[in-house]
């Protein structure tokens, strides 16, 4: 086995895991607190990437583009919440799934109308377009290292906000008993709107960071949305800690599985049937993992405490 390749794939796995966490955090906050299933979360990820591509084009700077795309998506998230989703909190999950499915259709078509059917490129700035040696003799793209570092930083920040600040206290209180914090005179409508905006901003961060390595295209949020749903279901819906751990696990299994499964299968079955089966099985790995986890623990690995369901 090629250990250097393995190390590289593990790092790639971490990087995918970090992106998934940024998405899962927003999705699980919105679900944990407002009990809203938002399938359109992937659309906010896509919008973040398109905003970043556009602003980068205008300002000629990826950094400025990114710094503008995050507040832009934050505002877009707030608009979506106020216009479409605010009235859905009290509805059952089926209604929420349908309405947010409608949002997906809208946003995919909107992007096709505004930016055209062909995807965009986000060029990497020179200072990130290089490699660093993670351990001596192993070069790894600087940009991917930056994604991992930013991801860990944001995860830490989110943890600090949720566990140490007043807003975090309200978020946690809202997650366990919505009526109570409303009765205590907290403006729960505003809190929900802000949390939704925060989730949108996190999705935008994931989208714009993915932009330069994946392609910025219509429907880019749909595939990763499903991965994110897998993450929060494995982690336990509503748990930030669970989302983080599950995101890293899913990122690692998906990435490492894709590059090493063909080798592993060749040890067990004939070479050409391994070559046929490997791509299908490696795409299925995380769904198999999810089925296994749910078969053993229907509430996910780390169900949040104090959330009655």
């Amino acid at each position: 086995m090629n250990w250097l390749l393995l190390l590289e794939q593990v790092l790639n796995g971490f990087q995918l895991g970090i992106l998934l966490f940024l998405l899962a955090a927003g999705l699980t906050l919105v679900f944990g607190i407002m009990d809203l299933v938002n399938l359109a979360h992937g659309s906010l990820y896509m919008m973040g990437a398109y905003f970043c591509a556009t602003f980068t084009g205008w300002t000629d700077s990826f950094l400025l583009g990114a710094l503008l795309a995050i507040p832009a998506t934050f505002i877009l998230g707030i608009l979506v919440e106020v216009i479409a989703l605010r009235n859905l909190y009290a509805r059952d999950h089926l209604d929420q799934v349908l309405a947010t499915f409608g949002l997906i259709l809208f946003f995919n078509e909107f992007v096709r109308l505004v930016w055209g059917p062909i995807g965009l490129d986000i060029p990497l700035p020179a200072f990130l377009n290089s490699t660093v040696e993670v351990i001596p003799g192993v070069p790894y793209p600087t940009y991917r290292v930056a994604i991992i570092l930013i991801g860990f930083f944001v995860a830490g920040l989110l943890y600090a906000i949720v566990s140490k600040t007043r807003m975090g206290m309200l978020i946690r209180a809202g997650a366990s008993n919505r009526e109570m914090i409303g009765a205590l005179g907290i403006n729960i409508k505003l809190l929900f709107t802000l949390v939704f905006g925060l989730g949108a901003a996190l999705a935008a961060l994931a989208g714009l960071m993915a932009g330069p390595i994946l392609s910025v295209e219509i429907g880019m949020g749909d595939g990763i949305l499903i991965l994110t749903l897998v993450v929060i279901v494995i982690g336990g819906i509503g748990s930030i800690k669970g989302a983080f751990i599950a995101a890293i696990i899913v990122g690692l299994i998906d990435t490492v599985g894709r590059s090493f499964l063909p080798e592993i299968l060749k040890l067990m079955v004939a070479e050409d049937s391994a070559a046929t089966a490997a791509p299908a099985i490696s795409s299925m790995l995380i769904y198999i993992l999810m089925a296994l986890v749910l078969a053993v623990r229907p509430q996910g690995l780390f169900p949040p405490k104090g959330v009655g369901r």
Binding site: A99, L113, V233, P279, A295, P298
Partner: protein, 330 residues
């Protein structure tokens, strides 16, 4: 038995559907036969999903997977008959058996695991399982991977039904739908149906009077998956083509939209919903309006998405709520 206005409207719809091939011949446009066949096949699939969502409260978000399984049985059969000369694989009854048995077994496995969970977990695990099947189809190079598989010869029903004749295929689909509507009517009115509906509204009560909701739900899940597999068998014959796209999770979303459009938990709801869904698609995409050089109809989902939200928010009982009288079973 006096005819209520609702029964009259439903009967009129059925009568109209029975005459579609004649009407198409009169206006000399066979396009409508194909379109209506498509609508009715989707209505069959939606009808089966309605058993789960409407009567059982099980929001399965992976129902398109069984359509795909049924369709691939036709595609794979035709492929081997054409490529390797395995003639028996073109036999429509073999393909039909494969579609029904295959989708039943897969629904049994998926249902057995998924039904251990509730609510939003159930939505997501059913979606994840259908994605597994989707990726399987994408990964199998032999059967065309993501390009799909063209079907050079439709199912051979040994002279009983000519599947390549658009009108006889239409009537096969039409009578299938009628029979399934009747069976569904009997099913939800039976004790089995009562347990399914009872478990939706109060599971603890069903348990305390001695029923095991899990087993009933699982049987309902398998029945629904099998009917969807049959719809897939029909769909492959209509399209002469199968592809992984048929099983994508967004196709399952379309089926749910049809049920909600038509009115959830209502016998005729899925039929009205499928008609409304495809009509909306046809109408919106052919809007002749042009703004700034852009044809509005080309971007019909820009209108359809928000329309869906408005329907969910303000007309959640769907078309059913506009019909006079009440469906006894809803």
């Amino acid at each position: 038995m006096s005819m209520s206005p609702r029964v009259l409207i439903n009967s009129a719809l059925i009568l109209l559907l029975a005459l579609v091939p004649f009407i198409a011949e009169m206006i000399d446009d066979s396009f409508y036969v194909g379109l209506t066949t498509r609508i009715l096949i989707l209505a069959i699939a939606a009808l089966s999903l309605n058993l789960l969502i409407g009567y059982g409260g099980m929001v399965s978000f992976g129902h398109a997977a069984y359509i795909g399984v049924g369709a691939y049985m036709v595609g794979i059969g035709a492929f081997h008959a054409f490529e390797d000369g395995v003639d028996w694989m073109l036999n429509g009854y073999v393909q039909l058996f494969g579609a029904i048995f295959g989708s039943a077994v897969i629904a049994l496995v998926i249902g057995a695991i998924s039904l251990r969970t509730r609510g939003v977990y159930f939505i997501m695990i059913t979606m994840a399982f259908s994605q597994m099947l989707y990726f399987t189809a994408v990964g199998v190079e032999t059967y065309g991977a993501d390009d799909g598989l063209s079907i050079y010869s439709r199912s051979d029903m040994l002279g009983l039904i000519d599947m390549s004749n658009e009108n006889s295929l239409y009537y096969l689909v039409f009578f299938s739908l009628l029979i399934l509507l009747y069976l569904m009517h009997r099913l939800v009115g039976s004790q089995f149906g009562n347990v399914i509906r009872g478990s939706k509204s109060n599971e603890a009560r069903m348990r305390s009077i001695g029923f095991s909701p899990y087993k009933y739900r699982l049987v309902a899940f398998v029945i629904a998956g099998t009917i969807a597999g049959y719809a897939g068998f029909l769909m492959a014959n209509l399209n002469d083509f199968v592809s992984p796209d048929m099983m994508h999770w967004t196709r399952s979303g379309d089926l749910i939209i049809m049920i909600v459009l038509g009115g959830i938990g209502n016998l005729f709801g899925p039929l009205y919903g499928a008609v409304a869904f495809l009509m909306l698609e046809e109408l919106l995409s052919s809007i002749p309006l042009t703004i700034g050089g852009l044809r509005v109809g080309e971007y019909w989902q820009l209108l359809f998405g928000p329309l869906l939200i408005i329907i969910v928010l303000y007309a959640r009982n769907g078309i059913d709520s506009f019909l006079p009288g009440k469906d006894k079973r809803s």
